[in-house]
Amino acid sequence: MTVSAIEFSRLGPPKLQLYAMRCQSCKQLSPWWEHFHCYKCGGEVLTEELLEGRGELTNYTVVYYPPRDFLGQEPYVVGHITMDEGVLLPAPVVDTALEDVQVGTRVKSTLRRMKLGHEGDIYYSQKFVVDPNPPKKRARPAAAKAAPAKKAPAKAPATKAAPAKKAPAKAAAPARTRTAAAKTK
């Protein structure tokens, strides 16, 4: 599952900066790999939106048998991070003992070496560490672990109290919009 250097550059900068895709029709925020259409409404105009990089670990696993590119890192944690903006991303959680990893932990992103390609080339991307200064107030309900719900609840509702994160003033990279039309260029 190696991504070639060409493939990597074709995929763009997502591995270095943490962003998601905002649907311009319904405003749904999707993971960054949703290039082509919004999985909620089918809208085809999605605009990259930088994330602040803070969120909550809402699920996790420990990988004991890694794919080749991650050999040597095992055992490592891959978590579901529910970002404060509401989007869910899978990412490694590092710098924490396995037994200390808990659902509900506040985490923040950090740029790290992700893996080695088949030619020894190094790929960088966002991993997560425990947030030493989590925001004091948060409205996100605790993980649904105590009370088993009768019906599987939908994704946790987007945090209301979290101030609508204004897009970072100085966006490091110019926002790109991918549309169906753009693809054919």
């Binding site: 999985y39 696993t61 420990v62 004991y64 794919p67 050999l71 899978p90 991307s125 672990k145 088993p148």
Partner: protein, 390 residues
């Protein structure tokens, strides 16, 4: 719709260093041809399910290779691929080919030779069946992606790891009695809990092994089988396929439910039966959690209740619906392209009454197979019925 099952064949499911992919295809295929009592020249079309020969075995064009070695040339042949749903998809195309009226007799083969590579390489190839370019950039693998689903399920429905372990206990109970299974040992809940961690919370006995195997079926028009009343009268009466989400990381449990429930509803309508009518089921479980998800998707239990049958006995051999009497993928292994075809062969053996001693259900008449892949991207349902003297 009724499509006759004229013949079935399969190889043992295990590590077979002495056999190549073509050996497995020929062994399973010749078994089905002999069982059907036809000759290779009677085959008008060949569908070969194979996922990864390009990666596992450094060869391609598996369908054409199989046509040559099975001796069905000049019949048409094609290789079919849809992740772990591959074997079921080959079967679907075979059913469609007969149901369309275009062909009288076709052959379906599923085969995979996985043990030519070390586990780390094979794991990497399997990961390519999901979104290896983007989502799995996070270091996820198939086991760990499904482990996330398992933890989510346990959190939401309040299960312990011991609760889930009963599914592995049941599968291994039957797998130990299936001479064609890869892993043939019984285990207790405690032993499941003590087995090595693979992807937390999934443990070794809750994960399928890498397996080499092939399975094959000869399908025919209804009248052809009807005219041979001395042959077992088993027919495929429904075949329905579906897709689901491509990204496992954003899968909800509702997504997992829909993946089987949508095609299952269509299949029940097509066959004119209900979930209550099903006697035996083979449900995809390369990881333990997928069995309860399948039980729920097929309508045998409410969402969140599917795990209970392995604990209370209702999905054991003499329960309300017998699930995975073959030992499931947990014991047979998951030879990717073969699995869907093996599930079919195993259910047909049940309906014929020829399953191995200890795993044959009491006179079942209606069976179902549910194959998933991707792991949330493919859903495949087939229904089988024994229809004597109609």
């Amino acid at each position: 719709m009724r499509v006759g099952v004229l013949g079935i064949g399969k190889t043992p499911h295990k590590i077979q260093h002495s056999k190549s992919l073509r050996d497995l295809i020929v062994e399973a295929g010749r078994g089905a041809i002999a069982d059907a009592g036809v000759s290779p020249s009677d085959i008008e079309m060949l569908y070969v399910g194979n996922v990864g020969s390009v990666g596992f075995n450094y060869e391609n064009s598996t369908g054409l290779m199989a046509a040559h070695h099975l001796g069905v040339v000049p019949a048409g042949a094609v290789r079919v691929e849809a992740a772990c749903g591959t074997g079921a998809w080959a079967l679907h195309l075979g059913v469609v080919a007969i149901a369309s009226g275009l062909y009288d007799t076709v052959m379906v083969v599923g085969a995979e030779k996985m043990n030519d590579l070390a586990t780390v390489e094979a794991t990497s190839i399997i990961a390519q069946a999901a979104d290896s370019k983007e989502e799995y950039f996070s270091g996820l693998t198939f086991p760990s992606g499904v482990a996330l689903t398992a933890r989510k399920y346990m959190q939401i429905y309040g299960l312990t790891e011991e609760d889930l372990a009963h599914t592995a206990v049941k599968n291994h109970h039957y797998g130990a009695r299936n001479p064609f299974a890869h892993l043939r040992f019984e285990c207790t809940v405690e032993e499941v809990m003590k087995s090595a961690k693979v992807a937390d919370p999934l443990k070794l006995y809750e994960v399928c092994p890498m397996t080499d195997a092939g399975s094959a079926l000869i399908l025919c028009r209804e009248e052809i089988l009807r005219d041979q009343p001395d042959k077992p009268q088993v027919y495929i009466t429904a075949s329905q396929m579906a897709t689901g989400t491509w990204y496992a990381a954003t899968d909800t449990l509702e997504d997992a439910y829909r993946l089987f429930n949508e095609p299952a509803k269509r299949a029940y309508a097509m066959a004119g039966v209900t979930a209550d009518d099903i006697d035996v089921a083979e449900i995809y479980n390369s990881f333990s959690i997928q069995e309860p998800l399948g039980i729920e998707g097929l309508g045998f239990a409410e969402p969140g209740e599917g795990w209970k049958g392995a604990k209370d006995g209702s999905t054991w051999k003499d329960g309300k619906v017998a699930v995975n009497l073959s030992g499931g993928l947990l014991c047979k292994g998951h030879p990717l392209g073969a699995t869907g075809a093996t599930q079919a062969v195993d259910i047909i053996e049940q309906l014929r009454g020829t399953a191995p001693e200890g795993i044959q259900a009491q006179d079942p008449e209606i069976g179902i197979t549910a194959c998933r892949g991707g792991p949330g991207a493919v859903g495949a349902i087939h229904i089988y019925q024994r229809l004597e003297g109609e």
